[in-house]
Amino acid sequence: MKLAGLLFGIAFGFLIALGGLNEYEVIHNMLLLEDFQPYLIMGSAVAVAAPIVWQLERRGWTTPFAGPISPGRSRVERHHVTGSAIFGTGWAVAGTCPAPALAMTGSGALLGLVVVGGLFAGLMARDYAEGRSGPGLADLDLGMRTPSEVGAET
């Protein structure tokens, strides 16, 4: 699983940089509605992934690592909306989001490190705010609030 994680990461980082999504100006122009390539990348990714996931579920695919396929889903709760509004604000200011910020740094953009550092601090700050610091951090796969939420919340 560690090797899979590494390989998937390498592929994802490679594709982000290939699409130019690790450039501040690309994301900034996307959010100014002047560059639609990033929307098309996201949209076509979902358009490819969704039918595959759906078919795997329909055919009762068994995953090699975690038993029968069952992507977690969650009902909408207030924290999804509030958190996303906060996230969207930071996204607009930094002109990059968590994976592209890493890819930006990887391509040699030094200020990407500032964003990455901020992300670490912000993620930890929320954990402390929820009173789940210390040993609880071990359980903090994003969204492991209840087992049924696992899929959708990371």
């Binding site: 390498i10 994802f12 690790n22 100014l32 889903r73 994976a99 990887g106 670490f120």
Partner: protein, 156 residues
Amino acid sequence: MDLLPDRVAWYVVGPLIGLLVAGMFALANKPLGASGAYVQTIAAIRKRASEPWRAWYFAGILIGAVGASALQGKLQLRTGYELMLDLWSLPTTVLVLAIGGVVMGYGARMAGGCTSGHGLCGTSARSVASFTATATFMSVAIGVTFALHWLTGGQL
């Protein structure tokens, strides 16, 4: 080296990302979320990771980006925020970016995911929460970007 273009077309990059998303669901029922990778990387450093593979995923993103940038002939030290530095001094830009990062991290943790976790994976798994989260952060980010554009007299 300049073996790859600066920006490969969306219809190549997007579907390949889609295969990764579907692939990780098929392999282990897991969404490929980047903010979860940050959380697990901190946890791994503290030797408390519940999903250590996500720390490897974190490292992989960096490695993959280094590789792609090298092939694009773009691997070079730079600030990455030249547009912002035309407007503000370096300390101000650093402060703005640090605040942006913290706000983003706080929000992603609260929302249970970010652009990749909710925007790509949750939506691919047809999770209502992820569609809601994605619609929310997209519209807020667009709104805030337009506000920044207006406040800086069109410079950003």
